[in-house]
């Protein structure tokens, strides 16, 4: 039984990797940018399935949402704006990179053969710090999902850096393309017939459900796969879908550019504010054990939630809750800002509909 289960797992792994390589080759071969972008979406979905086989449920979630959702929309927006024709090739642009790639690839293959075997539980990667996280998380943090514990608590400072990078990227796109349309968009023309009625009704049904699902993913992140990053991207999908189906003008009226900007800033401030509160209460930056002063900690009855021996888990629980909320706000608002940047540019361009 055990052997068969392992072999099935490994066989799935190999099949999916071959699929990924095939899609990669197709992306390299195609000259149509549109085909390449859609293939990237397929690639992301296939790699999400592969990530599930690799036990990386949280990453698979993120990859499916980001790769097949947001990044496809952003890439499509970009080719709409640059109106690029098919990619041109010449033989010099094929031979030289091919030789270079073969050389580098050969070196890397040589290096790879020195790595520990795939799936080795005693390899240096798996035997030290990762294992320590797995063993210590119930005692020190008290949430079942070790990925969330590492992301939000053990490596909280690192995650703060990532959140700030996402925020900075949002600002970068906004500085390049504008925070949204600079002028007031004229009203959308009266609906032409009932061509999009199915799309409109479906979108109306789905948008609240998408937002609800985002909050489920957010608040379920301690217990199962999920967390601020995934939920943020899912939450951003709701206004993006609204803009795609009902037009950018209505979306901006409902969710003004200024509000999105403030929400993104609030997320980063909330995250770092939690760290500062911990410092004020005598701990290190983002040391959630010190999130509540001892007087508040004493008021919490032991055994109210989880393990009665570890009352200080309350600090960890609330710390993770608040910083994940900060991540949600920043990621969602940044993704919407990026979309507003691209879509606003497209709406402003004279003759963009050609």
């Amino acid at each position: 039984m055990s052997e068969i289960a392992l072999q099935v797992n490994f066989g799935l792994n190999i099949a999916l990797l071959l699929m990924l390589v095939a899609i990669g080759l197709a992306i390299a071969r195609t000259r149509s940018l549109l085909a390449a972008i859609l293939l990237m979406g397929v690639y992301s979905l296939a790699s999400a399935v592969w990530l599930i086989v690799m036990d990386a449920a949280d990453v698979a979630f993120t990859e499916a949402v980001v790769g097949a959702g947001i990044s496809t929309v952003v890439l499509l927006g970009a080719i709409l704006l640059v109106r690029a024709g098919p990619v041109r090739h010449n033989w010099r642009m094929t031979i030289v990179p091919a030789v270079l790639v073969l050389g580098v690839g050969g070196l890397l293959v040589y290096a790879v053969t020195g790595l520990p075997e795939f799936g080795d539980p005693a390899s240096p990667t798996n035997a030290h710090v990762g294992r320590r996280y797995l063993i210590q998380t119930p005692d020190e943090i008290g949430v079942p999902n070790v990925v969330t514990a590492v992301l939000a608590s053990y490596r909280g400072f690192d995650t703060l850096g990532e959140t700030v990078v996402v925020f900075a990227a949002g600002i970068g796109v906004a500085l390049m393309l504008g925070f949204g349309p600079r002028s007031n968009l004229p009203p959308a023309p009266a609906a032409t017939g009932d061509h999009h009625v199915v799309l409109r009704v479906t979108a109306k049904l789905l948008i609240p459900l998408i937002a609800l699902f985002a909050f489920y993913v957010q608040f379920h992140g301690d217990l199962g796969a999920g967390g601020g990053f995934q939920a943020g991207v899912i939450l951003a999908v709701a206004p993006i879908l609204h803009a795609l189906v009902f037009g950018l003008r209505g979306t901006i009226a409902a969710l003004p550019v200024r509000a999105v900007r403030s929400i993104a800033t609030m997320g980063v401030l909330l995250y770092s504010g939690v760290g500062v509160v911990c410092m004020i209460n005598g701990g290190g930056f983002l040391d959630y054990d010190y999130l509540f002063p001892p007087s508040v900690e004493a008021m919490i009855p032991p055994g109210l939630m989880g393990d009665p021996d570890h009352a200080h888990h309350w600090g960890q629980h609330f710390g993770i809750f608040f910083i994940e909320l900060g991540v949600l706000l920043t990621v969602a608002a940044t993704m919407v800002t990026i979309f507003y940047g691209f879509a606003g540019r497209a709406a402003e361009e004279p003759g963009a509909s050609t």
């Binding site: 039984m1 055990s2 289960a5 392992l6 797992n9 190999i14 390589v21 990669g24 992306i27 390299a28 940018l33 992301s44 790699s47 036990d55 990386a56 949280d58 990453v59 993120t62 990859e63 980001v66 790769g67 990044s71 890439l75 704006l81 640059v82 690029a84 990619v87 041109r88 642009m93 990179p97 690839g105 890397l108 293959v109 790879v112 053969t113 075997e117 795939f118 799936g119 080795d120 539980p121 005693a122 798996n126 294992r131 996280y133 797995l134 063993i135 079942p144 999902n145 990925v147 590492v150 992301l151 990227a169 970068g172 796109v173 393309l177 199962g224 796969a225 991207v233 940044t334 691209f342």
Partner: protein
């Protein structure tokens, strides 16, 4: 066992990385280059996640020891193996690479958008996103500026 089998994941990551690198070099189209860069990035993710996989492991969400789920998972594996490498009677994959890659994917799409927005601005300034043509336009502009009044 054969290296091509035991190290298959790493080899696949190398192949995908080289495909990404090839796309990056073989075209002057900035959008296609960004796609190549994204491919390159996912191959890194592939490599990290492969390193963190523990054979017979499960997703790094702690299950209570001695619960029916934990026993069902442990029953599929050799008891000595579970004893040595398991945590609370269950073998988990390494969560650390998952954390690193999870954030890297979201940061990746944000930086991809920055690159694409720069490409859009280049298109607005030069009228093309082909690297060679951009240089030609820039040269013509420079020459025009030199002769100008």
């Amino acid at each position: 066992m054969n290296v091509a089998v035991t190290h298959f994941n790493y080899l696949a990551a190398v192949v995908l990385m080289m495909i990404g690198l090839y796309v990056l070099f073989s075209t002057g189209n900035l959008i296609k280059r960004m796609i190549g860069l994204a491919l390159f990035q996912t191959s890194t993710a592939l490599f990290y996640i492969s390193l963190g996989k523990v054979s017979g492991g499960t997703a790094a969400i702690r299950i209570y020891a001695d619960s029916p789920e934990a026993r069902a998972l442990a029953a599929q594996l050799d008891p000595a193996y579970v004893q040595q490498f398991g945590v609370g009677g269950v073998v988990y994959s390494n969560p650390l690479p998952h954390v690193l890659i999870l954030t890297a994917i979201v940061v990746g799409v944000a930086t991809l958008s920055v690159g694409l927005s720069i490409a859009v601005r280049i298109r607005e300034a030069y009228g093309t996103v082909e690297a060679g043509e951009i240089e030609a336009v820039a040269r013509v502009d420079a020459a025009g500026a030199g002769r100008g009044p």
